[in-house]
């Protein structure tokens, strides 16, 4: 069993995965094997692959919610005080319905050595980052799906994480809202320089957002492709990149 190791040495990579294999249950065959990845600070990495391949599980391992069966997971944490190694954004926004928006954003800051005023200030800054600074006193039920998802992003950003983990964060949104939030996320990534690890099954989304795309496939799944991407949103380059990935996934697809 391998838990996440937190290292204090600041190097170019934020996360290092070494020979990680992941499974559920003691005797069940592993879901994911031989994962070796090094994620550079400030990069935007998308993990794609067919559903059930273990994308979300991999993210949960990095988040410390699931323990890898073997191998090493190291997060190179920065020295600055009052922050968490990871900030997680779920597919369902997962806000606490009994807390107002601002208190939801403060949630992750509560166990940190941060004063009350500092906590409020950081939560307000995070709300501003997702452009919902007028919504601090609202209840979650008063928000639309897209707004809730933004609050989820603000909550993750408020802890000033070394890495922002996103588990199909826009999967449940309508197309227009999804597009808007993709643009927002791109802007947030550019403004803050945060490292983002983004799980999606939507190839267009991956090509549109990420500067590196990791394809998982096979049974048990492993990394079948790891590509640099700079296709952007439109044009032939974009379509080529998406098509190429689509065929990669099809080649490695088995049920």
């Amino acid at each position: 069993m391998a838990a996440v190791t937190l290292s204090k040495t600041a190097i170019a990579s934020v996360i290092d995965l070494e020979d990680v294999s992941i499974g559920y249950g003691k005797d069940a065959p592993p879901v994911l094997v031989d994962v070796n990845l090094s994620i550079e600070r400030g990069s935007f990495v998308a993990i794609v692959g067919p559903s059930g391949v273990g994308k979300s599980t991999l993210l949960r391992v990095v988040a410390g919610l699931h323990t890898a069966r073997s191998g090493g997971v190291t997060i190179h944490q920065d020295q600055r005080p009052g922050h968490r190694p990871v900030g997680l954004v779920f597919q369902d926004a997962r806000l606490l319905p009994w807390r107002r928006v601002i208190r939801n954003v403060e949630f992750g800051l509560e166990g940190l050595p941060v004063s009350r005023d500092e906590r409020r200030r950081r939560a307000e800054a995070a709300l501003k980052l997702v452009r919902l600074d007028g919504y601090a006193r609202r209840w979650p039920y008063e928000l639309s799906g897209g707004q809730r998802q933004r609050i989820g992003i603000a909550r993750a950003m408020a802890v000033d994480p070394d890495i922002l983990l996103m588990d199909e964060p826009f999967g449940a949104l309508d197309a227009i809202t999804r597009h808007n939030l993709q643009d927002e996320l791109r802007r947030i990534h550019q403004e803050t320089g945060k490292t983002v690890l983004f799980v999606t099954h939507d190839l267009e989304e991956a090509v549109h957002l990420a500067d590196r795309i990791i394809v998982l496939g096979g049974t048990p799944a492993r990394v079948v492709r790891d590509v640099r991407n700079s296709a952007g949103r439109d044009g032939a380059v974009f379509r080529d990149q998406v098509e190429q990935l689509r065929s990669e996934i099809a080649d490695n697809y088995s049920i």
């Binding site: 988040a63 410390g64 919610l65 968490r84 990871v86 997680l88 779920f90 369902d92 997962r94 606490l96 319905p97 009994w98 807390r99 107002r100 949630f107 992750g108 509560e110 166990g111 940190l112 209840w139 979650p140 039920y141 909550r155 802890v159």
Partner: protein, 250 residues
């Protein structure tokens, strides 16, 4: 329907009920001893009030009720929550609970008297017992029903330890269910007050027993109405608090 119309209709219902009752009592179909007319109740109230009996009985019952209710609620919520949280503890106590649960509070009266005497403590004990079970089951179900995803959220944001998990996620999440248990206990508590006092502990129930022994049925009705009012007031106050506490709900 508008709120105003609703209130008017409810009031009309009560008036029609009282008028029908009065009509039956006056018609002489039923002897007055067996069915006192509601119009006899105000006079009975004045007599009881002027002698100070009414106030004394209400205060006595209220004190049994409050002690029993708070004790039963606190213990019921605590034990219910603990059983829902820890599987081992749940298994350990499951059969004890199954054996004790079906015994109604009145069946404990002999023991209440042996342990506490014919005293305030005995009445409070019986009320606490009734209220305990209601809150135990309500809290158990409510805590079990807390969204597992929210608990995972707690772990993801460093709030997975027992104390933050309990106070920031589980209890707030279970609160609506726990409060319904509290409300049910509030009503059942008043019912048990009467039963607990029937065997001679000073209070509304005892006074009803005394009056019925003398066939003073209008006094019995007076105390029935008193209990109904006390229940109505406590339930109303509770609902006010509840709607405030749960204002985050749609």
């Amino acid at each position: 329907m508008k709120t105003y119309n609703k209130i008017a209709l409810s009031a009309l219902g009560v008036i029609v009920f009282l008028l029908a009752w009065e009509a039956v009592a006056r018609s002489g179909v039923v002897p007055a001893r067996l069915l006192p007319s509601p119009s006899a109740v105000p006079a009975a109230f004045l007599t009881e009030f002027n002698s100070g009996t009414w106030q004394a009985m209400v205060l006595a019952s209220l004190s049994h009720y409050l002690v029993g209710l708070s004790l039963g609620t606190f213990l019921g919520v605590s034990f219910g929550t603990a059983a829902a949280l820890w599987g081992k503890w749940d298994a350990f106590q499951a059969w004890v609970v199954r054996m004790l649960r079906p015994i109604p509070a009145i069946a404990w009266i002999p023991f209440a008297i042996i342990w506490f005497g014919v005293s305030e403590g005995a009445a409070s004990f019986l009320i606490a017992l009734t209220v305990f079970w209601i809150n135990y089951y309500a809290s158990y179900a409510a805590v079990r029903g807390v969204d597992k995803d929210l608990i995972e959220l707690g772990y993801a944001f460093g709030q997975g330890g027992l104390i933050p998990r309990l106070f920031k996620i589980i209890l707030p999440g279970a609160l609506p269910g726990i409060l319904s248990g509290l409300r049910a206990g509030l009503g059942q508590g008043w019912m048990t007050v009467v039963a607990a006092e029937l065997f001679g502990i000073s209070g509304l129930g005892m006074r009803m027993m005394e009056a019925s022994g003398l066939l003073a049925t209008h006094i019995v009705v007076l105390y029935m109405v008193t209990i109904a009012l006390l229940y109505g007031v406590s339930d109303f106050l509770f609902m006010q608090v509840q709607s405030r506490v749960l204002s985050w709900q749609r």
